[in-house]
Subunit: 348 residues, 2 copies
DNA sequence: TGGTTACATAATAGCGCTATTATCTCGAGC
DNA sequence: GCTCGAGATAATAGCGCTATTATGTAACCA
């Protein structure tokens, strides 16, 4: 007597309602052809295409990109790591990236460092778990472990919003010390001698700190000019700007030219000057950074330096897309200097 | 003579450097145990845990979440669809969502509708391709196809930034007509009678349009009061606000109370009044919407209505996390009214 | 006519992981 | 001493798709 081995009954795993096999069956074609229809539509005959399209429509098929990504060992995800989209600068860049990448059916995955650099490694590790088509990082300061992870993964990397010496792969941005230099030069050119950089959160915002540094250096190289820095650890806001102006009047009463770490600060400075009756630009020239939405409309309108947040996003997207379309092309180190623009308005 | 069937040699697909099997081998355990280590750490003995942790570290193992998601038929991705993060309101909510979800190791996937409602369906379709843990949509107006897709997928859905009648699943936000009503009531209470709503892009921004509607209705219900609407199809900005004030003076010269569709517009109105010598609030009261970063510091400081963008994000995240942690709990329709706050400042 | 292409479609074998079931170990309880 | 069960670990069978190879068919040339 023989025992008939009964096949163990396994309760099925939860699964997708409609799969590529269902579409294939309905279109009376093989799953391979349906897959090809998605990946290389031109390789499928018109008749087959139509049948597949009809089947997809009838069944309301939604492809499973995780299955696809697993099989293809790559996904159409671009992981973007920024300090925070609460910051209008990065929001603009993320929006531009999103818009451009979306046209190529690339998905954006978003993470925040909240200016905590040491978290970045974990964020990168998680990002890599999705076998992304590219990773976008903000700035150039990254831990050795982060660099190694990214290097080993061979994923295209774009560093944005800062240009400088050590670039991992591709970079799009501008030199922040040049921004500081430009602000100082402008003020000096307007006849200002006692300069001051007013900043928020310089200890965490390395890029703002570099602007301050460039500002001071430019003033130092000019005979008869001087430059100081005052700052506040709080996030940038008009309130902080107003407060810092008060502090500046006490500590540096002769100041006649101010550059701010960004336009929120500058707006606060302007408002406070209005309240105190300090004439801008007659007695004090003010230069901001950011060209935020209110800057042109302020009274007096705000001289500021416009960082091309939108362009940075667009160019980063362009580099990513180019790399994806031609993965075999020699991996030339692309560094794009987007520059910035000083907008001379009434406040200086 | 027999032919020995030679196994066809297939070039291997590109693959991951280190897999869970490598970790298991190094830790001298089975892949199952390593998997368990990630999913239910408590079920693994201390000794095994340590061995696995060591192996992961030594090999620099990065899990493949696509493989995991495929096997588990669900991913730790939350798909967020907003008009644009260029808009500070949504940026704030996205940031809050990101922060809260990140704590639970949930990834944010971001998409923009750019206020084009008909695109939403495609975005939702793509979102569902990732078997997301939840989907977040902005507003309550969605196509029938979008609703069906989401309903069939059984994915938790949160609609944010608007409250009203037809909710798909969960909703977090406030009633925009109540915002308009509150602005009108405030102005009437301040003795204003000839009211005006100044808006940008009302044809696309349904929520702003509802605020305008609530504003006008509140005025109509008050004897002796009147309310009009003027608008501009361009996106909201201080420039547009300044322009619209000019238009308002020509068309409605007796206006004494203005509510704006947002603070950018209101700031433009204030600036233009400064230039024209119109005293605020003596001759004209101005109410904004948004409480943007500059509003409190403006001169005069801007009376405005603060939408709790941050709270919306936090509450939405809370609902999502609760649903994920207790998937079996009866799917109670959660609607959270976050309300809004009128901040009375100098401009009214 | 045969052979060579080019094109279109199909069969095959995983991608790396998880959920389920099965097995093993060890101490408690009789 | 033996069974039993709890706890820990392992074996198994896919998840849904893509990349590769194989096959079929029509078009073309000598």
């Amino acid at each position: 007597m023989t025992m008939v081995a009964s096949k163990p009954i396994r309760t099925r795993r939860k699964m997708q309602r409609v799969t590529i096999m269902d579409v294939a069956a309905r279109a009376e074609l093989s799953p391979s052809t349906v897959s090809l229809y998605f990946r290389k539509p031109d390789a499928v005959s018109a008749a087959a295409s139509e049948a597949i399209a009809r089947a997809i429509d009838a069944l309301d098929y939604v492809p499973n990109l995780m299955a696809g990504g697993l099989a293809a060992a790559s996904s159409r995800v671009v992981s973007i790591i920024v300090p925070s989209v609460r910051n209008a600068f990065f929001a603009e860049t993320v929006a531009a990236l999103q818009d451009e990448l979306g046209k190529q059916r690339l998905q954006v995955m978003l993470s925040h460092t909240e200016y905590k650099e040491h978290d970045e490694e974990n964020l990168v590790r998680t990002a890599l778990s999705w076998a992304p088509a590219a990773v976008v990082l903000t700035g150039l300061s990254h831990s050795a472990a982060t660099r190694r992870l990214l290097h080993d993964s061979k994923v295209p990397v774009v560093e944005i919003w800062e240009l400088g010496s050590p670039t991992m792969d591709m970079a799009v941005g501008f030199h922040h010390d040049q921004v500081g230099h430009a602000a100082a030069s402008h003020l000096l050119q307007r006849g200002r001698k006692r300069l001051l950089f007013v900043g928020a959160r310089l200890h965490e915002d390395r890029r703002a700190a570099r602007r301050a540094q460039g500002f001071v250096e430019a003033a130092r190289n000019t005979p008869g000019a001087s430059a100081e820095i005052i700052q506040n650890p709080a996030p940038a806001s008009a309130e902080v700007g107003a407060m810092l102006l008060g502090e500046a009047r006490l500590r540096f009463p002769t100041v006649d030219g101010i550059a701010c770490s960004n336009d929120h600060i500058a707006l606060g400075v302007i408002f406070e000057c209005q309240r105190l009756g300090i004439a801008i630009p007659e007695r004090l020239s003010v230069v901001g950074f950011g060209d935020l939405s209110f800057s042109a409309a302020a009274n007096p309108s705000l001289t500021t330096i416009r960082p091309p947040g939108d362009l940075i996003g667009k160019e980063a997207a362009r580099l990513i897309i180019a790399r994806i379309l031609h993965p075999d092309a020699e991996p030339q180190q692309a560094v794009i200097d987007t520059r910035f623009t000083l907008l001379h308005r009434q406040s200086s």
